[in-house]
């Protein structure tokens, strides 16, 4: 206090900042704008919550402290206790009547895959009736699923573990791109691939994983972010690093060599194979920050094709939902915006953890795939730092001078700035059975953040 400040940060009237600069002291001017409509009182209530600062520090430290390792590969029936007729899906809860085309398609394909029906089309009656089937979000079972995210008991799952606590998360094995179940396709080739994955790929991976040192998934994420992957829409480096780690044990597994070759070829040809490891790694980290009273950090963003939902550390298991938006981007072949379903999938868990769209600056190779430019990508990552609680010291972006990725979306900062989380995403066809139609950029519906803020404000002790 005895010395004159060497620097002033000014929020508000430019004139007062001018007066400081006139005294030869540098000023950082904040580009302050009014918060989202109607949020002033809740913002003040939550800002004044004496638990908030420590709670958010704890939440962020918890997320950044988790290391995810791949420890097993096993059927969902085994590791999730999923029973015949039980279906997991992406996003917040949704019933068949409100389910979007791609989710319906994936559920129909899943029912045929499980032998509940012979033809996928027959499953419509099954789900309309609802008596013998049940739907539940992946997130409610320590699981995440890309796009439709449908998981059935016979599907094989990656099992990730935090060695410090033993907590686990799960994700299915990635099928590849194009006409695949998670994009709502359910043709014979889709089901054939799923059967091969359960009969050959899953068991081989289990043998290899169990015979290897646990694969350090968080460590691979650290490296791939420096190799041009943002770990949502580009997973090429990550996939190859996984293959490098598992190939020796696969080769030495004693399995049929044709099966080994087919499996290596399948993984190597699918640039997105690692997505299904990055996602549960992100969930494992974010789940460590759940249920911290007073914390305003988002712990999940997920979409079911109808609703976009978020969960927040300080509001427990409550979902704050609004209508999922249609992404803007590029389309495959003759598909256009009218063919695209609104946003779907649990893969926004990557953005929730600070990668994907948040790490766009590190993946210049794919900015055009999602309809952007390199300067846009740099600006996006910088902009996301305005709504996040901190930077991840492990996940850094070389082109931004190794600045850590923006981590821990703060509901209050989203409401204050009006800046919405930027998500990179694939686009599923609107109609069941179509599959992927494109890829692009999307944001959550703005209104879910003021709703979550109100939920936080209501829980502040008076």
């Amino acid at each position: 206090m005895t010395a004159a400040p060497t620097h002033v940060v000014a929020a508000g009237a430019g004139m007062l900042a001018d007066a400081v600069e006139a005294q030869a002291v540098p000023v950082t001017r904040i580009d302050w704008r009014p918060p989202m409509a109607g949020t002033e009182d809740d913002l003040a209530t939550v800002a004044a919550d004496p638990r908030r600062r420590a709670a958010n520090e704890r939440a962020l430290a918890a997320v950044l402290g988790v290391s995810a390792t791949l420890v097993d590969v096993a059927p969902a029936s085994e590791v999730l206790g999923l029973e015949r007729g039980q279906f997991l899906h992406a996003g917040p809860p949704v019933e068949w009547a409100r389910a979007a085309g791609p989710l319906r398609g994936a559920l129909m394909g899943g029912a045929a895959f499980e032998g509940l029906v012979t033809e996928p089309e027959d499953a419509v009656a099954l789900f309309e009736d609802g008596g013998s089937v049940s739907l539940e979000p992946c997130h409610h079972r320590s699981t995440v699923g890309p796009m439709a995210g449908v998981v059935t008991p016979s599907m094989w799952m990656f099992v990730l573990e935090d060695p410090a606590t033993g907590r686990r998360t799960h994700c299915s094995l990635n099928e590849g791109l194009g006409k695949v179940l998670r994009y709502g396709a359910y043709g014979p080739d889709v089901l054939e691939r799923l059967r091969w994955m359960s009969a050959v790929l899953g068991p081989l991976l289990r043998t290899a994983v169990r015979a290897s040192e646990p694969v350090d998934v968080t460590g691979i994420l650290t490296q791939m972010l420096q190799m041009g992957d943002e770990a949502h829409n580009r997973n090429r480096a990550g996939t190859l690093m996984l293959l490098r780690d598992l190939a020796p044990a696969m080769a030495a597994s004693g399995a049929d060599t044709d099966d080994i070759a087919a499996s290596l070829r399948f993984i190597g040809a699918n640039d997105h194979f690692f997505l299904n490891l990055g996602m549960p790694a992100c969930k494992l980290a974010l789940d460590a920050a759940r249920d911290i009273e007073g914390s305003t950090m988002v712990v999940a963003m997920a979409r079911n094709g109808t609703d976009f939902g978020i969960q927040v550390s300080g509001t427990g298991d409550e979902w704050f939902t609004g209508p999922a938006q249609v992404a803007e981007g590029l389309f495959l072949g003759d598909y256009g915006p009218d063919d695209a379903n609104p946003d779907i999938g649990d893969s926004a868990i990557t953005e929730t953890a600070g990668i994907g769209g948040f790490a766009m600056a590190t993946a210049p190779a794919i900015v055009r795939l999602v309809g952007g430019t390199v300067p846009d990508a740099l600006a996006t990552t910088r902009r996301m730092h305005e709504i996040t609680l901190g930077a991840n010291p492990r996940w850094s972006v070389p082109i931004l001078d190794f600045q850590g990725t923006p981590s821990g979306i703060d509901v209050t900062r989203v409401c204050r700035t009006g800046i919405l989380p930027q998500i990179n995403t694939g686009m599923a066809g609107r109609r069941a059975g179509v599959g992927q139609v494109g890829a692009g950029l999307v944001t959550p519906p703005a209104e879910i953040f003021p709703a979550a803020l109100a939920g936080l404000a209501a829980r502040v002790p008076r």
Partner: protein, 488 residues
């Protein structure tokens, strides 16, 4: 014939001061008769409606309204010019770094990676807590210039700050000097042995200027906000500020300037002050207590410095008082308060928007057939518009009205100079005073180092027929004497 053009700009934002300046710029465009560029707050929408503009329904405070009244024949060209001027003003910004990087949007993110520095918050009152709490979270001192901050917000902010040993100056803190750096409305003074803790902005400025005239410097003047010593807040910031000054070896004498605190708080603060190593001069302004000038004189005596004759400048041709009431028009709340305390002795009860007792409250038209003093910087009059120390429009309007009122005998005004204030108050005020027939007394609160040039301001006002004092108490006594028909 004239025609209206109303346009809503979504996603555009600028602060009210910038928009006021922009409105004036647009109004100067040939063909534009009236221009109002404003955020669509309820208050601004009311103003636009009063001006006769039809604003589309459903606009929100996040949107900007551009409303133009245009001469019919050149309307299209004028609209194009106006839109260009607005777009230029809204998009041009001084680059702070060589790199084209977007500005931070919150105080928290702007503070990342910095290790020093204070935070200056002047956003609308409802949002002030949120920005200021970012500073507290980061362990940085913060000055909250914003007014209209709910008292519950102030209490919450200051309690959080006290836990982290952070000083919150304000809210509604107009003036601070931190280690010689003026924040808000601050007079340019030289560093020296006095440290001030002030619950009042203009009270602090008066003290700064009187001490400066006497050759005594001030290194720190920490404003704590007008409510800090109320029972609700309990003097949280006053205690922190006193402790800061006590810890500074260069401070030989601390002055605490405030209205008399709530009884419990006063006892508490006096006991706290008595326990400090540095002596504390308490200057509590109230009925029967010394005024600010007397407090300055007490400080000078404690320091062993001679008390000078306070400057007074008489006009060449003093105006006769034709009888009638004293009308005080103030931009400084404490200066208004002090003037009422001083003048009540000679004139009896004074009606005001910040009255000495509730029975003396003025109605919404701010007039009465009695002596009146109005503080144009009061929260109720600044909601949705800049402070009158920045924008003189409101007081100039009321000055013209008072001068035209036959019941007005003498006019008493304050002019406050220093960083942050209007760059040249006399340029508009002097012509207005020259047009008035009644005697006018002005307290000009400024130092020789202030950017407005104190001497030039005084000369212009004296040239316009006003009597000018540095001491607000002295100016008030002269105005009372003139009202009572006593000669100079």
């Amino acid at each position: 014939m004239s025609r209206h053009h109303v346009e809503v700009r979504r996603g555009a934002y600028a602060d009210s001061v910038a928009l006021l300046q922009l409105s004036r710029t647009v109004q100067d465009i040939p063909g534009v008769e009236t221009a109002q560029v404003a955020m669509a707050t309820p208050l601004n929408l009311e103003v636009l409606a009063q001006m006769g503009f039809a604003v589309p329904s459903g606009v929100t405070a996040q949107e900007m309204v551009v409303a133009l009244r245009l001469a019919d024949d050149t309307a299209d060209a004028a609209i194009a010019d106006a839109e260009e001027a607005i777009t230029t003003a809204l998009t041009s910004r001084t680059p702070s770094t060589a790199e084209d990087v977007a500005s931070h949007r919150t105080t928290a993110t702007a503070l990342r990676g910095t290790t020093d520095g204070v935070v200056l918050v002047s956003v609308p009152g409802a949002s002030a807590l949120v920005e200021a709490m970012d500073a507290v979270d980061a362990g940085r001192d913060v000055m909250v210039f914003s007014d209209n901050v709910p008292v519950a917000h102030e209490v919450a902010l200051k309690r959080a700050a006290a836990e982290r040993d952070v000083l919150v100056m304000g809210p509604d803190c107009g003036t601070a000097i931190v280690g010689g750096l003026g924040l808000g409305f601050a007079n340019a003074t030289t560093p020296g042995p006095v440290g001030i803790v002030a619950a009042s902005g203009t009270g602090c400025q008066q003290l700064l200027c009187l001490l400066d005239h006497a050759g005594v410097g001030v290194t720190h003047a920490l404003g704590v906000g007008g409510r800090d010593l109320t029972a609700a807040v309990g003097g949280i910031s006053t205690r922190t500020a006193l402790a800061r000054l006590d810890a500074d070896d260069s401070v030989e004498l601390i002055v605490l300037v405030s209205k008399p605190p709530a009884a419990d708080v006063a006892a508490d603060i006096e006991a706290y002050a008595a326990g400090l190593a540095t002596p504390v001069e308490l200057a509590f302004l109230g009925p029967g207590r010394p005024d600010l000038t007397a407090a300055a004189e007490a400080v000078l005596r404690r320091l062993g410095t001679a008390v000078p004759t306070w400057p007074a400048h008489l006009p060449a041709a003093p105006r006769p008082s034709g009888g009638g009431h004293l009308r005080g028009l103030f931009v400084g709340g404490t200066l208004c308060h002090e003037a009422m305390l001083v003048a009540t002795a000679g004139l009896g009860p004074i009606r005001s928007n910040i009255p000495l007792s509730p029975g003396l409250t003025l109605g919404p038209d701010l007039t009465a057939d009695a002596p009146t003093m109005v503080d144009y910087g009061d929260d109720a009059l600044t909601a949705g518009r800049p402070h009158p120390m920045i924008d003189p429009t409101l007081r100039l309007e009321h000055l013209a009205r008072a001068a035209a009122d036959a019941s007005t005998g003498v006019l008493l005004l304050d002019v406050v100079l220093g960083h942050g204030a209007e760059p040249d108050p006399a340029v508009l005020l002097a012509p207005a005073l020259a047009a008035i027939t009644q005697p006018v007394v002005v307290a000009v609160v400024g130092t020789a180092h202030d950017p407005q040039d104190l001497d030039r301001q005084v000369r212009a006002l004296v040239g316009a027929g006003a009597e000018v004092h540095l001491s607000n108490a002295a100016a008030t006594r002269r105005a009372v004497a003139l009202t009572l028909g006593e000669s100079a």
